[in-house]
């Protein structure tokens, strides 16, 4: 098991070993997570407006209310949040979310980032926007947000982010399923763990018609590609048949076809949607039709 943080105490380790089943180990990890946002040298001219607070499991709703459901879908474990006040009445809000795996943290990051942000080498991947910065490292997804525009925004955000990233000892693997996306011409990619995340990319009918629990999305110049992973080929075939029926009954689609195990349909934007099985996966392509937009 990777040691997540550099400053885990010997006392915590002993307590974990002795009373692990009682959940004290979780408390030690919780304490360790809070250390991520302990006083940051990069913010020495800032004051702590709200000391770090930890949110575990369902408590995440207290931090971000309905926004919590997305994180839970990805496998949320706990988060720590703090707020700092600086020059010109600026406020810096920092949140670090610990997910159930590095792939999940990477997935959250992939969904919430966009190519409009400048790539930045922090953690295992990050992007800098005008007033905020997000990155991931190991099982952690971290966001830093300024509430007032600052000339020094870039420096403040990157400085604090680097220091937090340095406190995270663990690294991890990106989602393996990303290898299913052809790399040529790939403009953007996302990893999803369910219908909520998927609906932020493309809405396939009403409800989770493909029964997605794990999938990837790739954006290309003239089409979008989805790869959904299932436990078995039989499961994939069954889900494709169910999706075909759902889409055929959905008024949002027309020109629906179901031939030789390949689903075809046109959406209201005149994109052509095709879906087929490949082994234990469903491959869906949403293609822009020339002259349709």
């Amino acid at each position: 098991m990777h040691r997540l943080l550099r400053r885990s105490s010997i006392r915590s380790a002993v307590l974990c070993a002795v009373i692990a089943s009682a959940g004290v180990c979780a408390a030690a990890v919780e304490e360790g997570v809070a250390q991520l946002l302990a006083p940051l040298q990069e913010l020495r001219d800032w004051t702590t407006a709200e000391a770090p607070r930890t949110f575990v499991g369902e408590d995440l709703f207290e931090l971000i209310d309905g926004g919590a459901e997305l994180y839970h879908e990805y496998g949320f474990r706990q988060a720590v949040a703090a707020r700092f006040e600086g020059p010109s009445s600026a406020t810096l809000q920092i949140e670090a979310y610990q997910m159930d795996s590095a792939a999940s943290a990477c997935g959250v990051y992939s969904l919430l980032q966009s190519p409009k942000g400048a790539p930045i080498v922090i953690g295992q991947g990050g992007r800098l926007y005008r007033d905020y910065l997000i990155f991931w490292k190991g099982p952690f997804y971290v966001s830093l947000t300024l509430t007032v525009p600052l000339e020094s925004a870039g420096a403040v955000l990157t400085g604090a982010a680097r220091q937090i990233a340095d406190r995270i000892d663990a690294t991890g693997e990106e989602p393996a399923l990303w290898r299913a996306l052809p790399p040529e011409g790939l403009l953007d990619r996302k990893y999803v763990r369910g219908a909520i995340a998927l609906s932020n990319v493309y809405v396939f009918g009403s409800g989770n018609v493909f029964g997605v629990t794990e999938g990837v999305y790739g954006e290309y110049a003239d089409h979008r590609r989805f790869v959904f992973q299932y436990a078995t080929r039989e499961a994939a075939l069954g889900q494709l048949a169910a999706a075909a029926q759902a889409i055929a009954n959905d008024k949002a689609y027309h020109d629906v076809s179901w031939t030789d195990g390949v689903l075809g349909a046109s959406d209201r934007d005149e994109n052509r949607v095709t879906a087929r099985c490949e082994s234990d996966r469903i491959i869906v392509q949403v293609s822009r039709v020339a002259g349709a937009h």
Partner: protein
């Protein structure tokens, strides 16, 4: 060559010029003035005001609906549902205090005896408005409604049959909904309809997310959306004033994310129409594909085709 102007001609011309000057004068900018709006123009059902001053734009939008006096009478108790709870802190995630304060001022000017907040804004919220000092008297009428829940049956609810609703929503003389139009990762959009969740207890709201028994606890967006539509059957706000000045267009409801800056306030009596307009205009969504808007329309709560309403759009 025309002869000297007669006394009659002079007075007639002067009167016309005077009337023109009266109409052109920006009366809305007078502190303490009642809702602006041309008296002879029929009240709109949907008012859209774009401008650099959210406080003034909100006042003008209500004016285009006929003025606050259409909604608030002297001595009435007004309940405000402002989408600015303590957990929405990032830019574009909460209703601007400028918009909220404009409505508070209008209610006070209309003679409201009490203004209660169903969801309490965080400390310092009102002070963030540049008009806070000028509206101090109006703000003195504002107080919290408290966390008093009433078990309410929703007979026509399809997924939500009962809910714990804030008593102020049920008993206030007037309810004014003050949402922000923004992206929402779960439902795609949040505005007037979803803001009604703010009037529900946390256990009721948890049911919205978990109650369908879906295999993945958080995956049943259709159920969540139906519950939102159902809860809007409890009480339709008398007025909706929706903030579309600065709002999240990605990564809502919490952010951080990309921001839209339409600098617009949208006001209307029909929450479905306001949401349909805002979802399509500011987030490029098809209203019929936003489940809760479609389902609320099917309930008969409002009109999804906002173009069928009397719309007044203006720039200040």
């Amino acid at each position: 060559m025309k002869g000297p102007v007669s006394r009659r001609e002079f007075l007639s011309c002067s009167a016309r010029l005077g009337a023109l000057a009266f109409v052109a004068y920006p009366w809305s900018r007078l502190v303490g003035a009642a809702s602006p709006g041309p008296a002879d123009v029929p009240a709109a059902d949907l008012a859209i005001v774009q401008g650099p001053d959210p406080f003034d734009d909100a006042r003008r939008a209500v004016g285009l609906l006929g003025g606050i006096q259409r909604f608030v009478k002297p001595g009435q108790r007004v309940a405000l549902l402002i989408n600015a709870p303590r957990w929405w802190t990032k830019p574009g995630s909460f209703t601007s205090p400028e918009v909220s304060l404009a409505v508070v001022q209008l209610c006070a000017q209309a003679g409201a005896r009490e203004i209660v907040t169903i969801v309490d804004p965080p400390a310092g919220y009102w002070r963030r408005s540049g008009h806070a000092d000028a509206c101090a008297k109006a703000l003195s009428l504002v107080k919290s409604s408290g966390r008093d829940w009433v078990a309410t049956t929703i007979t026509k609810g399809r997924s939500l049959k009962r809910a714990d609703i804030n008593r102020a929503l049920l008993e206030a003389d007037v309810v004014i909904n003050l949402p922000i139009a923004k992206h929402h990762a779960g439902t795609g959009f949040t505005g007037c309809l979803k803001n009604m969740m703010g009037a529900c207890s946390s256990s009721t709201n948890r049911f919205f997310h978990n109650g369908s028994g879906a295999s993945g606890e958080y995956e049943d967006v259709a159920f969540l959306s139906q519950c939102i539509a159902d809860v809007n059957l409890v009480r339709k706000p008398d007025l909706n004033v929706c903030d579309a000045t600065e709002y999240l267009i990605t990564n809502g409801p919490a952010g951080p994310g990309e921001l839209g800056h339409a600098q617009t306030v949208v006001a209307g009596i029909d929450p479905v129409a306001v949401d349909a307009y805002c979802a399509s205009t500011f987030l490029s969504l098809r209203p019929e594909r936003v489940h809760m808007i479609q389902q609320a329309f099917e309930h008969g709560i409002g009109q999804i085709d906002w173009t069928k309403l009397a719309v007044n759009k203006t720039q200040s």
